[in-house]
C-alpha cells in the first residue's frame, strides 16, 4: 500500500517550509508541484544534479565527427571533381561539421531532458494518460503550490497531514494507490 499525501498551498514560501519540515521529519523527500519554477528548492531539499550537459556534450562531439565523416567519406565514394578543388576540402566540410555538431547537440539535449526528467510520463504504458504512480493535482498547474509526500503507513500519513496543515496548507488531499 502506498499513499500520497498532497498539501496545497497558496504561496511558495509556505510550501517550501512545509517541504522542509517533511524532510526534517524523516518522511522522505517530498515532491513539489508548482505552476512556476520555485526558487530556493535546492536550499531546502538539497542540490539537484542533471545528466543533460553530458548528453549535450556527447551529442555535439558525435555530431561533429559524423558531420565531417559524412561529407568526407561520401565525397571520396562519389568522387566528383568540382571547381579544381580537392575531393576532401576543409572549409566547406567544416561548415557541415559545425551544423551537425549543433543538430546532434540539440537532439541529444532533448533526449537528455527526457531521460533525466523521466518524461514522457509512463513511457512504456499509455504514456499520455496520467501515471498512477505519480500523484497530480490540476490546481498545481494554475495557482497552487503542492507538496506531495509518499507514505507507506497510516502513521506517516497522519504525520504528514499534520505537518502540512501546520505549515498552512489550504487543503490536504489523500491520494491512495489502488494495489
Amino acid at each position: 500500500m502506498k499513499n500520497f499525501v498532497v498539501g496545497l498551498f497558496g504561496d511558495p514560501e509556505s510550501a517550501l517550509a512545509a517541504a522542509g519540515s517533511i524532510q526534517t521529519a524523516d518522511l522522505g523527500t517530498p515532491e513539489l508541484m508548482s505552476p512556476v519554477p520555485m526558487e530556493g528548492v535546492e536550499e531546502v531539499l538539497g542540490e539537484k544534479k542533471s545528466v543533460i550537459k553530458r548528453f549535450s556534450l556527447f551529442g555535439a562531439i558525435f555530431g561533429g565527427i559524423s558531420g565531417f565523416l559524412l561529407a568526407a567519406i561520401t565525397a571520396v565514394l562519389y568522387a566528383h571533381p568540382t571547381g579544381g578543388r580537392p575531393i576532401i576540402t576543409f572549409p566547406p566540410y567544416l561548415i557541415i561539421t559545425y551544423e551537425l555538431t549543433i543538430l546532434f547537440g540539440i537532439v541529444f539535449t532533448v533526449i537528455g531532458f527526457f531521460v533525466s526528467a523521466r518524461l514522457p510520463n509512463g513511457l512504456w504504458t499509455a504514456w499520455w494518460k496520467q501515471d498512477e504512480n505519480r500523484p497530480y493535482v490540476p490546481e498545481a498547474a494554475v495557482n497552487k503550490f503542492a507538496v506531495s509526500v509518499t507514505c507507506t503507513s497510516n502513521e506517516s500519513v497522519q504525520q504528514a497531514e499534520a505537518i502540512l496543515r501546520t505549515a498552512g496548507a489550504e487543503e490536504v488531499r489523500d491520494v491512495t494507490e489502488e494495489n
Binding site: 566528383h80 571547381g83 578543388r85 580537392p86
Partner: protein, 254 residues
C-alpha cells in the same frame, strides 16, 4: 598494404587539388580575335548541332534566349574614331570553375576529359551555377520548348532535348568527342588524332578563327596556339583557369 596506409594514401590523393593533369585528354579551344569577324555562323551551327530550342520573339524580349555560344559586341570610341570589337563567348570549361562548386546536387562537375559537364537530368534548377559563372554562359530553360513539326525532324539524335527547369550550356560538343573516341577505338588507336574532332562552331567558322584540340598533346594545333604570345584568357583575374583561350586582336597602324 595496411588499412591505415590505404587511408593515408586516399587522404593524400584526395587532398591534392591539381589532379587535372592526370586526365586522358584536356580539351581546349583557342579563338583568334584577329580573325573572327563576328559573323555568327558558329552561333547557328551550335544551335543546329545541340538542339537548341527556337525560343520565339517573346523569350528574346524577356531575355530568355538560349545561345550556348554568343557573340559579344564592344564598341570603342565615338564617331568617327569608332571601333567594334567582337568576341565569341561560350562556356570556358574552367578548370577552377565557380559554377561546379555551387551545385548542391553535383549536376555539374569536371569530367575525365577536363570538360565542365552539365548533367541535365540531375539538375534541380537552383540556377546558382548561372549566378556563379562570371561569363554568363549558362542558360536556363524557363519553360518547355517545342519544335513545330517538321522542324523536330532536324533534331540531333545524339543530343538530348532539355526540359523546363534545367540549366544547359556549351559541352564542347561532347557527343562528337565521344564519337571520335569510339572511332579511334574501332580503328585500334589509343588516342584521338589531332583535328579529328571539332565542335560544330570550330568546324563551321568561315575564317578558321577557332582551334580545338587536346592540350595534353604538345604537338596539337591547339597547344601551339596556346603558346602564342597573343593568347589571353577573359577575366583571367578571377582565376577561373579557363580552357578557352583567346588570341588578342592586333591593332595595326596603316
Amino acid at each position: 598494404m595496411s588499412f591505415l596506409d590505404r587511408i593515408t594514401e586516399g587522404w593524400r590523393k584526395n587532398r591534392k587539388p591539381g589532379y587535372y593533369e592526370d586526365f586522358d585528354y584536356h580539351w581546349a579551344m583557342t579563338i583568334d580575335l584577329d580573325q573572327c569577324s563576328g559573323c555568327g555562323a558558329c552561333v547557328t551551327a551550335c544551335q543546329a548541332e545541340n538542339n537548341l530550342p527556337i525560343v520565339g520573339e517573346d523569350a528574346f524580349t524577356k531575355g530568355r534566349e538560349i545561345k550556348w555560344l554568343r557573340i559579344e559586341h564592344y564598341w570603342e570610341g565615338e564617331y568617327p574614331d569608332v571601333k567594334l570589337n567582337v568576341i565569341p563567348m561560350m562556356c570556358q570549361h574552367c578548370d577552377s570553375a565557380p559554377c561546379e562548386t555551387v551545385c548542391p546536387v553535383s549536376a555539374t562537375y569536371h569530367n575525365q576529359d577536363g570538360l565542365n559537364t552539365q548533367i541535365y537530368n540531375r539538375c534541380i534548377g537552383t540556377r546558382s551555377c548561372a549566378v556563379y559563372c562570371p561569363y554568363e554562359v549558362r542558360y536556363f530553360n524557363y519553360n518547355d520548348h517545342t519544335w513545330e513539326s517538321p522542324l523536330d525532324q532536324q533534331l540531333n539524335p545524339d543530343v538530348s532535348v532539355r526540359e523546363k527547369g534545367v540549366m544547359e550550356k556549351c559541352t564542347f560538343c561532347i557527343q562528337r568527342i565521344r564519337q571520335a573516341k569510339d572511332n579511334a577505338k574501332d580503328d585500334g588507336r589509343r588516342r584521338v588524332r589531332d583535328g579529328e574532332v571539332q565542335p560544330a562552331c570550330v568546324q563551321t567558322c568561315p575564317s578558321k578563327a577557332m582551334v580545338f584540340g587536346d592540350r595534353n598533346d604538345p604537338q596539337s594545333q591547339v597547344s601551339q596556339s596556346l603558346n602564342d604570345p597573343r593568347s589571353y584568357k577573359v577575366l583571367d583575374e578571377l582565376n577561373t583557369n579557363s580552357s578557352v583561350v583567346y588570341l588578342k586582336k592586333v591593332e595595326a597602324e596603316g
